[in-house]
């Protein structure tokens, strides 16, 4: 095992932050198209993507593209658009919190590495 600044946890957190920003990206696309005739809301399964990302980190695989799907169970308006304002508003808030959670945890993880680097000066 060589010297590495990036730990397993920091790699996983990086994937987590990426997934949170993917989630925000999908939500932003849905919200932008709230008045586009025929537009169908897109989404992703965060838990399934995170599970895959964790095994990817463990097996040293590069990051894979997120599987984007149409969202089921939404009520379409007469123009064929099925974007729900409440769903997207909540999703955006959730993605934002997940992102910030990931950033805070990553900061702590990097701080831990910094403490180890400066351990002799204390």
């Amino acid at each position: 095992m060589g010297m590495e600044i990036a730990t397993r946890l920091s790699d996983q957190l990086a994937r987590y932050i990426d997934l949170a920003s993917d989630e925000a990206k999908l939500t932003a696309a849905n919200v932008a198209n709230i008045d586009t005739p025929g537009y169908r809301a897109v989404g992703m399964n965060f838990e399934a993507e995170m599970r895959r990302a964790v095994t990817d980190v463990d097996d040293n695989r590069p990051e894979q593209a997120v599987r984007v799907t149409d969202v089921d169970g939404l009520v379409a308006r007469p123009d064929g658009n099925d974007v729900s304002m409440d769903r997207e508003g909540l999703n955006m808030a959730q993605a934002q919190l997940e992102y910030k959670t990931g950033v805070s945890l990553l900061r702590i993880e990097y701080q831990r590495v910094m403490d180890a680097i400066h351990a002799d000066s204390k």
């Binding site: 925000a24 169908r40 984007v68 508003g89 992102y99 950033v103």
Partner: protein, 166 residues
């Protein structure tokens, strides 16, 4: 993954919604306009949004629909969406066309009006203030929703800057 791309997505929507509100304002302002450069009374305008995605079929159908726009007699048919291809993520939204309402003008009897026809009827635009207000409310709400999305994206970028700060 670029967080600034998110702001462009939301920004394109804010631009489109503002345009929609401007069209509504133009409609309201011209409720009684009986003379236009094209001749005849003002005709109610309406915007058509299209997802800004790299789907050639979708783009073609929207531009085909937009090409019949200058005659201003029909609304474009809604494009057929491929249920499998629709899972592509749209990078934003754009205004595909501004179409004219095909409904005939309202005739009001006013023989003294300079634009009255031989029978004494004046053609006024068929504009319903309630329809316009509802459209304006929709535009305002969608604008606000995209505005809060920009706020969320901004705060995400700001928090990402915190990683490097010790």
């Amino acid at each position: 993954m670029n967080l600034f791309g998110l702001m462009e997505t939301s920004g394109s929507a804010m631009e489109a919604e503002r345009m929609r509100a401007e069209v509504v304002a133009a409609n309201m302002a011209n409720t009684d306009t009986t003379r236009t450069a094209a001749g005849g009374p003002y005709r109610r305008q309406e915007v058509v949004f299209a997802a800004d995605r790299d789907d050639p079929n979708f783009l073609n159908s929207m531009s085909d629909a937009a090409s019949i726009q200058p005659t201003g007699v029909s609304m474009p048919a809604l494009p057929a969406i491929d249920p499998l291809g629709s899972a592509a993520v749209a990078p934003g939204v754009r205004i595909a066309a501004v179409v004219q309402d095909p409904s005939p003008p309202l005739k009001r009897y006013d023989p003294g009006h300079p634009d009255a026809d031989a029978q004494g009827y004046v053609s006024y635009p068929d504009i319903n203030p309630i329809t316009e207000m509802v459209d304006l409310m929709g535009a305002t709400r969608a604008y606000g929703l995209n505005g809060s999305a920009v706020q969320a994206e901004k705060s995400m970028i700001t928090s990402a800057l915190e990683i490097a700060r010790t």
